[in-house]
């Protein structure tokens, strides 16, 4: 059913359609509306046969989900940013135990400095945890990916994180087609666990594993994600048959057929990039964009097949691995590693802590990638004046103070705001 609805609410409705049995809720901006929405559905009786548990932290949220999942229940939770870090130990544990929990991540920056706005630092911090990570481009896809995520998680018995850009998607009102219950039921069978805590068949789960078996356990986790590289496209096809629209998949190419420059990006920023691609195509430039839906598993072969004929690859990402550059650029570089005539790779860090990524800046970026290429990561729309001054000041004064506060003071001075 078509609805004009807030992204978080659409996700909540999609979760309810998946018939979760245990939901753990802990508030953190910007995912809070999702668990609130699911909570309303449980409290009103619209979602039956579901335990909604208000926990005391994100660590507990995922821990409760771990217990529920190991006991054979379909479990869901949602978090963001600091919340994901607070549950980090349980994030690895859920994956290591092979529990098919689905979790929404309302992508948000990580502090300090504290910042509630969107970027992908949180998702990147857990990229090696063993979860599959799917990124939604818009709210329709956010809805669809959650339905796919439960099936994917349960077929492989491995957890899935659905990444939805904080505010940009979670708080945006868009037209979304909410599926019918019968469609979801046809796509998603009841959870049939591969391991379960059962007094009739007592087993020990979570035992100590030494050097004699640890490598094999880890290899099999990697092997499962390699299987997911085939399963994710298959589920996307299945989804299209039942729901009548394409959604999910490993990645999507847009106007890349003859493109000399191909942009690689994840999440909601792709919408803006597509607009820029259209503009530049109208101006006669051969440019396209690849939307990466699945970041883990990372679709090396599929990405390479699209990028191999390009001259320039521009990776735009909302995170920075401090001391290295962009993790997505690094992974993309890995996909191109063994090509004979590999395209030049240009890495851009953009939209950190919610900074808008504008069409004007993107146009300049794509132009520079071809005509004035840079080395290493390029920080889009970096205020070089402010940064330069701060670097200079720190050199002069030993007790230079807190960086974040100094930057804010400079900006305030520049805009003639009142000072203390």
């Amino acid at each position: 059913m078509l609805k004009q609805v807030e992204g978080s609410h659409a996700v909540a409705e999609a979760i309810a359609l998946c018939r979760p049995e245990v939901i753990c809720a802990y508030p953190i901006t910007p995912q809070t509306h999702i668990v609130e929405g699911v909570g309303e559905l449980v409290k009103s009786g619209a979602l039956q046969n579901c335990e909604f548990i208000n926990v005391e932290s994100e660590f507990a949220a995922l821990s409760v989900a771990i217990g529920a999942s190991a006991a054979g229940a379909r479990a869901y939770t949602a978090t963001a940013s600091q919340g994901l870090l607070f549950m980090a130990e349980a994030v690895y544990n859920a994956a290591g135990l092979g529990l098919p929990i689905v979790m929404t991540l309302g992508n948000r920056a990580i502090g300090a400095p504290i910042n509630i706005w969107n970027d992908h630092s949180d998702a990147m911090s857990m990229r090696d945890a063993g979860w599959m990570q799917l990124f939604a481009e818009n709210n329709q896809e956010a809805v669809d990916l959650h339905i796919i995520a439960f099936r994917l998680a349960e077929e492989l018995s491995m957890p899935v994180m659905v990444c939805v850009d904080g505010f940009i998607l979670t708080h945006a009102f868009e037209r979304v087609d909410i599926p019918e219950q019968a469609q979801v039921d046809a796509f998603l069978p009841p959870y049939d666990p591969v391991q379960v805590l059962d007094p009739d068949n007592p087993a020990s789960i979570g035992a100590m594993v030494g050097p004699e078996a640890f490598t094999e356990v880890r290899f099999l986790a990697h092997y499962k994600q390699r299987q997911a590289l085939r399963l994710i496209p298959a589920l996307s096809d299945d989804f299209a048959k039942i729901f009548g629209r394409a959604s999910g998949g490993l990645l999507r190419a847009y106007r890349t057929e003859d493109a000399e420059t191909i942009v690689v990006a994840m999440g909601s920023v792709v919408g803006t990039i597509k607009d820029v691609v259209d503009e530049l195509r109208d101006e006669g430039q051969k440019i396209g964009v690849v939307t990466l839906v699945s970041y883990r598993p990372f679709p090396v072969e599929a990405l390479r097949d699209i990028l191999k004929t390009a001259k320039h690859v521009v990776v735009i990402e909302k995170s920075v691995s401090v001391g290295l550059g962009g993790p997505l650029a690094d992974n993309t570089d890995g996909a191109l590693r063994n090509l004979d005539n590999r395209p030049l790779l240009h890495s851009a860090i953009a939209g950190l802590g919610g900074r808008p990524i504008t069409r004007a800046s993107l146009k300049r970026l794509f132009h520079d990638a071809v005509h004035a290429p840079w080395e290493g990561p390029f920080f889009l729309d970096l205020n070089e004046r402010v940064v330069g001054r701060e670097i200079h000041r720190v050199r002069k004064v030993r007790r230079s103070g807190a960086t974040a506060e100094n930057i804010l003071r400079q900006l305030a001075l520049a805009s003639h705001l009142p000072q203390e």
Binding site: E21, I53, S63, V64, I66, A73, P199, P202, S204, A207
Partner: protein, 339 residues
């Protein structure tokens, strides 16, 4: 003898462990004997595990889980925090657990158990859930999850096997380590060797403050009391907490054969009060049978050896005695059980 007369007789009958005042199973009918005395016991934590000789925790866990198994008709799931109990029971493919058992992390056993219990409810199953861990996994790193489980009144019995330190990692101080005790992180060095006075916490009291349906302390020195409390706890729904004092020969610096003796002396000197509370109120305390000075308890353990150097008692022995005296007063540990 009719049932009521039998019940009256049993109320007067007191059971003491061998080595103290031997009154035991032989005097009562089969049905009244302890779970451990029964050939039908589940052996939930079966033999072959790798606990140290004289491990109080292994004993406590065996008593507690077997009692819970009887109370639930073997329809039980256990969640275990990281720690000695987890490590010595499951060097896979060997496992000593004869019931479904899950280990997730050090600090989340209470929350994982909440999830397991929620799954039972949603699946319409009657299976009951126990979470268990040592004092580190309970009073320190697992405390937030524990308090959350308590305040939600989730249907979980949490059992803390309190051996007063991080024994699995090599005897470091926890918030359950008593004052003056030597651990690897409170060494017997300097002008005031051992753990600092005025620190630490007694989680059973904090559990009581949550107003949960049932809180109890117990000791491996009193098998019947321990079993009775576990069985009682399994008859109650909601959040329940039992903390069992389990001596650690390695960490306490005591011979393996003194485990039960030390557990008994800890109670008899008043350092470890044994009581029950329901819905935020203390309902019963186990009376001290033969009061001893705390010195008699301390002097048997190498972790307190620095208090008795050169034949002179450290003044801090008196401070520990004052703690015992306060417990005796606060929990009403003297007098008759029937009073």
């Amino acid at each position: 003898m009719d049932d009521s007369t039998l019940a009256q007789q049993q109320q007067k009958l007191k059971y003491y462990q061998k080595g103290t005042f031997t009154v035991g199973n032989r005097l009562v009918s089969d049905a009244e004997r302890s779970v451990q005395a029964s050939a039908e016991r589940s052996n939930a934590l079966t033999s072959g595990h790798r606990a140290c000789q004289g491990c109080g925790e292994a004993l406590g866990a065996r008593y507690a889980i077997d009692a819970a198994m009887r109370a639930t008709g073997n329809d039980l799931i256990a969640v275990n925090a990281t720690g000695c109990l987890e490590v010595f029971t499951t060097p896979y493919p060997e496992t000593s657990w004869q019931l479904p058992w899950l280990h997730s992390l050090f600090g989340n056993a209470a929350a994982v158990a909440t999830g397991v219990a929620a799954a039972q409810r949603v699946k319409g199953k009657a299976t009951r859930v126990i979470a268990q861990g040592g004092d580190g996994g309970t009073t320190d790193i697992g405390f937030q999850c524990l308090s959350g489980m308590f305040e939600r009144n989730d249907d979980v019995l949490y059992i803390c096997y309190d051996n007063e330190g991080y024994m699995n990692t090599g005897v470091q101080r926890s918030s359950a380590t008593p004052p003056a005790a030597r651990t690897a992180t409170t060494p017997a060095l300097g002008p005031e060797p051992g753990n600092v006075f005025g620190t630490g916490k007694f989680v059973p009291k904090i559990a009581v403050a949550h107003g949960i349906p049932y809180v109890a302390t117990a000791t491996v020195a009193d098998l019947r009391d321990l079993e009775a409390k576990v069985i009682k706890a399994m008859g109650i729904r909601g959040a329940r907490y039992i903390q069992i004092n389990v001596p650690c020969p390695l960490g306490w610096g005591a011979p393996s054969y003194d485990t039960i003796k030390l557990a008994r002396l800890a109670v008899e000197c008043g350092l470890y009060p044994i009581f029950e509370a329901e819905h935020g109120r203390i309902t019963q305390s186990r009376k001290i049978r033969r009061r001893i000075p705390v010195r008699d308890y301390l002097i048997l353990q190498k972790r307190y050896a620095h208090l008795f150097r050169n034949g002179v008692d450290d003044p801090r022995v008196a401070r520990l005695q004052a703690i015992c005296d306060a417990h005796i007063e606060d929990y009403g540990l003297l007098g008759d059980d029937e009073a």
